[in-house]
């Protein structure tokens, strides 16, 4: 798995009102993990801000969150964007109903 040794440490990333977290693509690039062709689980995904960004590069993305309304907003956004490689599923980080060894990348962003 490709993890950059130097990507964006200490970088200043833009935000904006309505974007109280960094834009997904910029945040993911800062972490330096190349998601191309990988299976990604975004645990505690909320409405999928980061998951939708990850889905632009990953093979497929599963966005997991206990908040049904947030998941519904994420699904609607994925549909609006025409993204077919992202799935939204209700679940809790402490008990994921997923098979062992089924993802190359797991994301806990603002979750722990």
């Amino acid at each position: 798995m490709q993890v950059s040794a130097t990507a964006s440490v200490g970088q200043l990333v833009p935000g904006g009102l309505g974007y109280l977290r960094p834009p997904a693509e910029i945040e993911l690039a800062a972490y330096g993990v190349d998601l191309r062709g990988l299976r990604v689980a975004d645990i505690g995904a909320g409405e999928g801000r980061l998951a939708l960004g990850a889905a632009r590069r990953a093979d497929r993305v599963l966005a997991i969150d206990p908040d049904r309304s947030a998941l519904a907003r994420g699904r609607a956004e994925a549909k609006r964007l025409g993204m077919r490689n992202i799935t939204f599923r209700e679940g809790a980080a402490q008990s994921l109903e997923l098979a062992d060894g089924s993802f190359e990348v797991a994301i806990l962003s603002w979750t722990l």
Partner: protein, 131 residues
């Protein structure tokens, strides 16, 4: 929190990576005047309860590293810039915020706090490889 890390490890393939990213309450957010290159004119701390939660999260990560469930591949910090039209807008934002302190610790007199402001908040991240 350890439960969540253990579950994340379980669904990862060998050598898979876990991205842990969180606001960094170890450093205060910076308030700049004007824009992203403006002078730092204040700082914003973190609410005490939130700091305690963050310390528990840190402890959970240390625990899974110590137990050899993951190894740390890389860690770092990015700064997220959030613009505000003026001090009043920033104060409204802080009034509703669950993490930040309610008040700015200003470094300059009130007369020098007018105009656009940018808050830079630290986000820490660590890339953990499943072992």
């Amino acid at each position: 929190m350890v439960d969540a890390l253990e579950e994340a490890r379980r669904i990862l393939v060998d050598g898979g990576v876990l991205v842990d990213a969180r606001p960094d309450s170890r450093v205060a957010a910076r308030v700049r005047s004007g824009g992203a290159r403006g002078t730092i004119i204040g700082t914003i701390g973190t609410q005490r309860e939130t700091k305690t939660d963050d310390q528990l999260s840190d402890r959970a990560v240390r625990d899974v590293l110590r137990r050899g469930l993951f190894r740390s591949r890389r860690r770092g910090r990015i700064w997220h810039a959030i613009p505000f039209e003026d001090r009043s807008e920033l104060q409204d934002y802080l009034g509703d915020h669950l993490r930040f302190s309610r008040r700015v610790s200003w470094r300059v007199p009130a007369a020098k706090r007018d105009g656009r402001l940018v808050v830079e908040r630290a986000v820490r991240f660590e890339i953990l490889e499943r072992r």
